[in-house]
């Protein structure tokens, strides 16, 4: 057995947690606490403007299409971080730029769904279900991924740090949606004695109920609660004196880092970030998009540095439902478009490269003459990460109806 939360059971709480016993019972696993790989997905809701975040600044069409939004690596024009002589990273993303240089972060550009809907709702739904033409899929792709991991696990295997379960995690495999880990306890506010008493009472009651599901889940809940130990969460100190941005995303990622370090069996984590629907005055360096990007970038950078010794086990992948129009609109923003870009960060990522099949922004290369076309199916990115990092090798189940190839983003 590994150290960490599980040691609790050995030392103080006593016995083997129910979910471990169950897993061992079903002979699915022999050693549940071998270190699992962890995938952290961040959904940027609202459709991030990929052309501004990772800008094909050498394309002369860009400046024409976006006269006031154009930036380049030149000091006078916004100072992008040049990535490869063709693409430049937004200046607000400086905190992530070193990871690209070190070869740990890959960017995929021109990514999107084959379904050309420009509705946020539909596009998010399709991307999260992983079935771009079927709304009635009962499961999300991350939930299917969890089911394909091939071993049983703890209640903390799939956790979404959101108030309700995201579409990505709908499905038959257990997934937790929890906004605040501190709530994972029996609580009689301000009265520990009463809490303790209530907790003991519930444990007794769930232990003897004749309902199989309430009995089993009840036991698991109490085991999980002891494992998580809310006090450790309250007192969590990030490594190396890292300070997370005080934002929704920063807070979510901090909680995910806590779970990772507590070694409670996390394998798939989900967080989200809003405010990407920049129809008005999206601005350049210090505009609305820039400020949002800074939070996004700084949150991920803080998370990554905080992971410290755990970095080898973790891959972070971002996603957004679609991109935005190649041209700017009449109100200094951009409207709903097609392809955008995404980031994949991890020590096992073949990084330092902007993967893309993008042609030019000339009108004839644009979809409907206005949008960056989707030249990379999102499923070829998602499956590549799932295959390479989580060692899931069943794309037929992961993305039914899709027959494409993975992108080969991961080493080994």
């Amino acid at each position: 057995m590994k150290s960490g939360a599980l040691a609790l059971f050995a030392a103080g709480v006593g016995g083997v947690p129910t979910f471990i016993a169950r897993a061992a019972d079903s002979r699915k696993i022999l050693s549940p606490y071998k270190k699992n790989k962890i995938l952290v997905c961040i959904f940027q809701r609202g459709a991030m403007d990929g052309l501004m975040v990772v800008s094909p600044y050498t394309d002369p069409n860009l400046k024409t299409l976006r006269p006031t939004l154009y930036m380049s690596p030149a000091e006078t024009e916004g100072k992008l971080t040049d990535l490869d002589g063709r693409f430049g990273l937004h200046p607000s993303m400086q905190s992530l730029a070193p990871f690209f240089t070190e070869g740990r972060m890959a960017i995929v550009h021109g990514v999107g769904s084959p379904n050309n809907t420009r509705s946020h709702f539909d596009a998010q739904d399709y991307m999260e279900s992983g079935t771009p033409f079927s709304k009635s899929s009962t499961s999300g792709w991350l939930n299917r991924a969890v089911g394909l991991l091939g071993h049983d696990a703890t209640p903390f295997r799939a956790v979404s740090v959101t108030s309700s379960l995201p579409r990505s995690l709908y499905g038959d495999n257990e997934a937790l949606a929890i906004n605040n880990l501190q709530e994972f306890a029996i609580q009689m506010r301000g009265n520990p004695l009463a809490s303790n008493l209530a907790s003991k009472s519930f444990e007794q009651l769930y232990d003897q109920t004749s309902s199989e599901i309430l009995n089993r889940t009840g036991k698991e809940s109490f085991d999980a609660m002891k494992m998580l130990n809310v006090n450790n969460i309250k007192n969590y100190q990030p490594a190396n004196g890292i300070v997370y941005p005080n934002s929704a995303l920063g807070n979510s990622l901090k909680q995910i880092a806590t779970l990772i370090k507590m070694n409670v069996g996390l394998e798939v984590a989900f967080a989200e970030s809003g405010g990407w629907d920049t129809h008005f005055n999206q601005g350049t360096i210090n505009g609305a998009l820039g400020r949002n990007l800074k939070d996004f970038s700084d949150s991920i950078a803080a998370f990554w540095k905080d992971l410290d010794a755990y970095q080898d086990d973790v891959t972070v992948m971002t996603m957004t439902e679609f991109g935005r129009t190649a041209h700017q609109n009449g109100t200094g923003g951009t409207d709903h478009g097609r392809a955008s870009c995404l980031f994949v960060l991890g020590n096992n990522v073949k990084g330092g490269k902007v993967y893309n099949n993008i042609k030019t922004l000339a009108k004839e290369d644009l979809e409907d003459g206005r949008d960056l076309p989707v030249s990379t199916d999102f499923r070829s990115v998602f499956s590549s990460v799932a295959n390479g990092h989580l060692k899931i090798n069943n794309n037929k189940s992961l993305f039914p109806t899709w027959e494409g190839q993975g992108l080969g983003l991961m080493k080994g």
Binding site: R167, N179, Q208, S211, A224, T331
Partner: protein, 670 residues
């Protein structure tokens, strides 16, 4: 008289519907007599009443078992099937001044509760958005200006509309007399799910439940199917409103017409002259029109989820053809500043009727967007030029298909009897469905008359959904809930953010979906917080439930309140186990001391200000901070965060014991 009123006067379709309902009614067989075999199945009247109430209501109120036994179980069920008891308590708790939207038409809602995009456009139009950036939406001065503007023009934030939808559902379920109607409203809404997560249908969700679902839950399946098919919420949610075809004479003539050619030339001239201000917008509009076409979403889901079921025997070809049959099924323009309104006003009702357009309330059949070719669906031929009637025939065919009967009856049996209903029961119900042409009452009577409903295996088999659980706690304790939104926040934490389920499948109806470690801990915490009155706006009088007698000890409290909160259930084992824990003479004293040392100061006390406002009843004057939060919320497309407020509450022994009973496994079961 405005234009829309004029259209409402020509509702030929509506009259036809009434007529056909009349004709159908006179032909249908009489309802089977209620004859529930609970005695044969070994249950006492009291046990049977408890089971009946457990499944056909949102929970047993104190004393209700006796009421039902006195009245007679059959008579009680008949009364619930009629579903017309007057509901003063609901009316009292949903006063018109703080729940104005509940009686509004779609048109009024659309022009009052603007969606986020409309608000931003109004702000832009009134120069409230300055060059700085969109982030100035968060600035107080901007919000104050916007608030003033919205107040002046009579606009309200969409969050306020959502508050009203959510609260009314909780109030009706907790305090309504027509419990079965409410249970079925929950069931059919979930079956024909639409979602507040989709901006385009948000404004219509309230009237969807009120007009398309609730009045039809005990009627004919075909009626409720058609009502949902034509409601703007569904038309937007599954995109049928934007599914169009140019395969008709009208569209072809328009395309060829001289006027159209001139208009096109003129438009192209504008688009090509980039110095013209409107060029870009016009270009986009033309592109949008070009990309219009068939959208199969609704056609697929109506067969897969609403009628036949995924194995119901249809093909992809059927999906495409049903989509073609439903092209032109759309929504009357309602937003007074919208482009559709101008078009309708220009055409006029006479001309539209002549051209085969059909208006029924907010439903609009656009003849010039309908595919007029002949079609074959599920082997049946539909001749060309079927127009609006063609779609109605398709719905009728789907509603009465044997696959539909089986699919719907399986779902009903799953809801009311067991997560895995027996084939015998489903077959009985399916027969009743087919014989009665989809009469929902008859199906329910057949179910209640079946031995399977009363079988020992079915008793307590169903686990309550979070909503059912929370509402049953309110009912079991006669609680007075003054801030229903608080209950909603708890439901979300327990895993059921109702009205926000994104997929058209609706929430899965099975225990394995509802019960996981996180949701179960939250159920226990809900029980404790609820019974100890730590949820703001929840008032309990537990002593009154025991005729104001104070139990002598924790042990006595356990025995007394187990019986009150879980009548007709054997609790001996539970009581025995708990007694060992609570048997401590000084327990209450110790707990009180502990509470004094740790007065409530939790970070949750400072919940997000937006949530504050959502939780507050509008009856109390909103604070300045709340108002500001509301304005900010009005402009935020983000999902609402869930932060739970706690108040000091009451930690006496009786409250704690009640909390443990409510959080116990037995209370989770129906």
């Amino acid at each position: 008289m405005n234009f829309r009123r004029m259209y409402k006067t020509f509702t030929v379709g509506a009259i036809m519907t009434l007529l056909s309902a009349f004709v159908q009614g006179s032909h249908s067989a009489p309802e089977p007599k209620i004859n529930m075999p609970y005695k044969k199945m070994g249950l006492t009247q009291e046990q049977a009443a408890a089971h009946l109430l457990g499944r056909f209501t949102f929970g047993i109120r104190p004393g209700q078992i006796k009421e039902v036994v006195d009245m007679g179980l059959d008579k009680w069920l008949q009364q619930q099937l009629d579903g017309n008891i007057s509901d003063e308590e609901v009316a009292r708790r949903l006063p018109a001044d703080s729940y104005d939207a509940l009686a509004m038409t779609n048109e009024t809602i659309v022009n009052t509760y603007l969606n986020a995009g409309q608000i931003i456009r109004i702000a832009a139009k009134n120069n409230l958005l300055n060059k700085d950036s969109i982030r100035n939406l968060d600035k107080p001065e901007y919000r104050a200006q916007l608030k003033k503007l919205m107040d002046e023009q009579g606009y309200k934030a969409p969050q306020e509309l959502q508050r009203q939808i959510v609260n009314q559902k909780i109030v009706r379920a907790a305090y309504g007399q027509n419990q079965l109607r409410e249970v079925l409203t929950d069931f059919w809404f979930n079956h024909f799910n639409v979602s507040l997560t989709k901006g385009q249908c948000q404004q219509y969700v309230l009237t969807y439940e009120r007009d398309a679902i609730r009045p039809n839950v005990l009627g004919n399946f075909e009626t409720i199917l058609e009502a949902t098919a034509k409601h703007p919420a569904m038309l937007e949610y599954l995109d049928n409103a934007s599914s169009v075809s140019m395969d008709n004479d009208m569209a072809r003539q328009q395309e060829k017409s001289v006027l159209n050619r001139l208009v096109k030339q003129r438009m192209l001239a504008i688009v090509n002259d980039t110095s013209k201000p409107g060029a870009k917008i016009l270009e986009q509009a033309i592109k949008a029109k070009k990309t219009q076409g068939l959208n199969e979403n609704y056609a697929r889901e109506i067969m897969e989820l609403h009628t036949l079921g995924v194995d119901g025997g249809y093909t992809q070809q059927d999906v495409t053809t049903v989509a073609r049959a439903l092209t032109g099924w759309s929504i009357m323009p309602m937003y007074k500043d919208g482009p559709g309104m101008k078009l309708i006003q220009a055409a006029g009702p006479g001309l539209m009727a002549k051209r085969g357009f059909v208006v029924e309330g907010d439903f609009l059949f656009k003849a010039d967007k309908h595919d007029e070719n002949a079609k074959t669906i599920l082997g049946r031929n539909f001749p060309a030029n079927g127009g609006y009637e063609e779609g109605k025939q398709v719905l009728e065919m789907l509603a009465n298909h044997p696959s539909t009967a089986k699919f719907i009856c399986t779902k009903l049996a799953t809801r009311f009897v067991s997560d895995t209903p027996s084939a015998e029961l489903v077959n009985k119900m399916t027969d009743a469905f087919l014989k009665s042409k989809g009469n929902i009452k008859m199906v329910l009577i057949t179910m209640a008359n079946a031995r399977e409903f009363w079988d020992n295996k079915a008793l307590r088999e169903k686990v309550k959904s979070p909503f059912e659980f929370a509402v049953s706690a309110i009912r079991a304790t006669n609680a007075d809930v003054q801030q229903p939104f608080q209950i909603y926040n708890w439901c979300t934490r327990m895993g059921q953010r109702f009205y926000y389920y994104q997929a058209p499948t609706g929430f899965p109806d099975r225990a394995t979906y509802w019960i996981n470690t996180g949701s179960l801990l939250n159920r226990m915490n809900f029980g404790l917080a609820f019974a100890t009155e730590k949820i703001p706006g929840v008032k309990l009088n537990l002593a009154a439930l025991n005729d104001n007698h104070e139990p002598e000890s924790a042990e006595a409290a356990l025995i007394i309140y187990s019986k009150i909160l879980l009548p007709e259930r054997n609790q001996d084992d539970n009581i025995r186990r708990l007694t060992a824990i609570v048997r401590d003479a000084n327990l209450e004293k110790k707990i009180t001391e502990a509470a004094v040392k740790n007065t409530v100061t939790t970070p949750d006390m400072t919940a997000s200000s937006m949530q504050d406002d959502m939780m507050a009843t509008t009856a109390t004057a909103p604070t300045l901070r709340n108002r500001k939060a509301n304005e900010r919320a009005a402009l935020s497309k983000k999902n609402l965060p869930v932060t739970t407020l706690y108040v000091a509450g009451n930690t006496n022994t009786v409250s704690q014991v009640a909390g443990i009973i409510i959080g116990s496994p037995e209370f989770q079961r129906k």
